[in-house]
Symmetry: C2
Amino acid sequence: MSDQPPSTPLALDPGAQELLFRSAHTANTFTGEPVTDEQIRAVYDLVKYAPTAFNQSPLRVVLVRSAEARQRLLTHLSEGNRAKTAGAPLTALLVADHDFHHELPRLFPKMPQAKDVFFSERADRERSAAFNGALQIGYFIVGIRAAGLAAGPMSGFDAEGLNKEFFPEGDRRVLAVVNIGKPGPDAYRPRAPRLEYDEVVSSV
Amino acid sequence: MSDQPPSTPLALDPGAQELLFRSAHTANTFTGEPVTDEQIRAVYDLVKYAPTAFNQSPLRVVLVRSAEARQRLLTHLSEGNRAKTAGAPLTALLVADHDFHHELPRLFPKMPQAKDVFFSERADRERSAAFNGALQIGYFIVGIRAAGLAAGPMSGFDAEGLNKEFFPEGDRRVLAVVNIGKPGPDAYRPRAPRLEYDEVVSSV
């Protein structure tokens, strides 16, 4: 349980608040229990509804399952992230697809011309995919927790190396890497302080 | 209710799944019911626990409450976003703070040197604040829904104009603008299609 009760009732029930936010922690160790494709499908089928600009949905998820691919991944992680990743039952690359615009006429039928009006330039697509892909990573981390699993998101990796290793054609970019599984022994570091409300929220 | 039941049981109860994802929609109209600071505080006190790299927590939220500030905001929105924003009980700027590193020794006590090792360069701080701020916007949108409110996130605005208008010192950047309130009449567009699982998730 968290250190303080909610200050105001939310519509979301307290158990769900604990599961998704208050008791949830980034995990640094995992049990050996496998994470199945069916579990990841359930996560996706939940979080796919959350919003992105023009419903562009640029996030792609690569499950690193084979021993060979896991080894290739590990070489591009910062040293502090290698052992815990080697010990995780599943690691996923969370990736921005710079060619998301091809699907826009289907994903945003309200404005079939959006593909050409807003996203004909690659630089605009990269910028938009980076932002909206990050939004979707936020939703995905919440979704992993909704499946009763712990997430261990990481940004400590050689981004250029990882992009070239897994996407040599240059059409995708790894935004984050996340370990997924049931938390193991000593999985959690102590909760670090959060900013106070008045440090974050102001009015004009 | 959504068009299909979850394919696999999640740990999150079905009511919470509906509230946060399946029944939740981007709202384009709102009732006049005010959104209080207490509600925003409850949202923040929930989503503040979600992870960012180094717990850097770069997101800042500016509630645009005064008539004068609302008018200044509207002039920088794309035309299609003005009327619905003028009709929303509350609009918030979701902002990346490029000076987040000043708080890092408090927020990430495990590595007090992170501030100088990773974030002494402004370009690195901007890049990291953009990514982690977007993650936090994902959490914040989920949190708005957890409070029983609807979110109307927007990326259609003159970013440079908005930054200069509200943050002339250049230390912050508006990443998104979001309307918040109870959904009004005809608030929702039909749900647009989502990508299929196999289009998004692959294994290597």
